[in-house]
């Protein structure tokens, strides 16, 4: 994969620095550039800069010559500055989310019971999202493909962030996370690797299967939803949030996948597209139980002080992914209105 096209001063600083290494330009974002960011959660420049820095820890870029860039102290300083702005915005959004839930202490006797009840409660009312309903009944083939393209940034790296958490937790929670990841990674069968299933769906529509093409067009909000997982998974202090995020994600996935599957069938898209969503209806019904009861409950039984972080991570997942979904819906609506007017 090659470095993406920067789209503002922050991503330009990071991309230029990576290109220029090892001569080593100074990549720390200028305070002025950070000051220009009005809403970090949809700011494409900030999110792209952060995404590039995170990608150094996954598969990296072919046009970054210096393999040591991953742990370059100046780039770390950059990442920390971007992460601070990002995390602050996520905490503000979570704080502004109406909480009708009782306090954790009132939800059960032990931290494990409390966290289980909070996660079940929080995800219980979520049916299929508005995006899934749109794809099910209304989307055109083109709109459906634009959805796949937008989500490719997530699905082509699906489950990788959470693997970073395995060495950071212990006991039953570690075992349950390994069990969940084993399933995500194909259950011993390379052809069932979930990332590969998604790539096959893209290929069946003659869409590119490389991540770089999709990063170039992804919105700031989509990059934020992906970056959120890396933020939680790559910072050990946020391991509780990483697992809460996973639980909320899995618990709100089966029903939407079922709708998207029906949408794919309605549009008579190739079976490879349907196959991905078909796999996820059943898989995510299992993963939801593993994530809530196996991972999160066991984690807080082991480390009770992580209980609020688990709930924070779950709330952040729903809020940030909700925002990304809204941006998608608004885009489809605007394009339909344009067409109607034109």
């Amino acid at each position: 994969m090659r470095l993406p096209q920067p789209c503002g001063p922050l991503s330009e600083g990071v991309v230029e620095t990576l290109r220029a290494r090892p001569q080593g330009l100074h990549a720390v974002p200028e305070p002025r550039a950070m000051g220009d960011v009005t809403y970090p959660l949809t700011d494409r420049d900030l999110q792209l800069a952060l995404w590039v820095l995170y990608e150094l820890h996954y598969r990296g870029f072919d046009d970054v010559d210096d393999p040591r860039a991953e742990w370059d102290p100046l780039l770390m300083v950059s990442r920390a500055a971007l992460e601070r702005t990002f995390e602050h915005a996520v905490r503000e959004l979570v704080g502004a989310t109406p909480q009708d839930a009782p306090a954790l202490e009132d939800l059960g006797d032990t931290p494990a019971e409390q966290v289980t009840a909070a996660l079940v409660r929080m995800t219980a009312r979520s049916g299929p999202s508005e995006v899934a309903q749109f794809l099910h009944r209304r989307a055109t083939r083109q709109e459906f493909c634009s959805y796949l393209a937008e989500r490719a940034v997530h699905h082509l790296r699906e489950s990788d962030p959470q693997s970073f958490v395995l060495p950071r937790i212990g006991g039953a929670a570690k075992v349950a996370l390994a069990e969940l990841q084993y399933d995500e990674y194909g259950g011993g069968r390379p052809d069932r690797l979930h990332q590969a299933l998604f790539a096959r769906g893209l290929a069946s529509l003659d869409l590119p299967t490389d991540l770089a093409s999709y990063v170039e067009q992804a919105t700031g909000a989509t990059l934020a939803s992906v970056n959120l997982m890396s933020l939680f998974a790559l910072n050990r202090r946020l391991r509780g949030a990483a697992m809460g995020h996973l639980a909320a994600f899995e618990a709100t996935s089966s029903l939407p996948c079922d709708r998207i599957l029906r949408g794919a069938r309605r549009l008579r898209l190739p079976e490879e597209v349907a196959d991905y969503y078909d796999e996820h209806v059943e898989a995510d019904a299992v993963h939801e139980q593993l994530a809530i009861r196996g991972i999160c409950a066991a984690l807080v039984a082991d480390e009770p002080e992580l209980a609020p972080d688990v709930v924070f991570g779950a709330t952040a997942c729903l809020a940030v992914d909700g925002l990304a979904g809204q941006v998608l819906l608004d885009g489809w609506r605007a394009r339909r209105e344009d067409r109607a007017a034109g």
Partner: protein, 66 residues
């Protein structure tokens, strides 16, 4: 090699998690092969993919589809 264990875990308000089984026989007598390390077997009867749970147990309004 140790004897393989089959473990069934109840999830309150949701499915049974089953580890180590080879097949699950549905009410109509058809045996569904177990193709993943852990499977969720529906207990509420609302799933469209019986015998597997498809998360329909969440939706209290939804009627069981025949």
């Amino acid at each position: 090699m140790s004897k393989r264990r089959v473990v069934v875990t109840e999830c309150p308000g949701g499915p049974l998690l089953v580890r180590g089984a080879d097949e699950v026989v549905g009410v109509d007598g058809t045996a569904a092969p177990v193709e993943r390390a852990v499977v969720a077997v529906c207990r509420c009867g609302r799933s469209d993919r019986l015998p597997w749970c498809d998360d329909s147990h969440r939706d209290r309004r939804r009627k069981r589809s025949p």
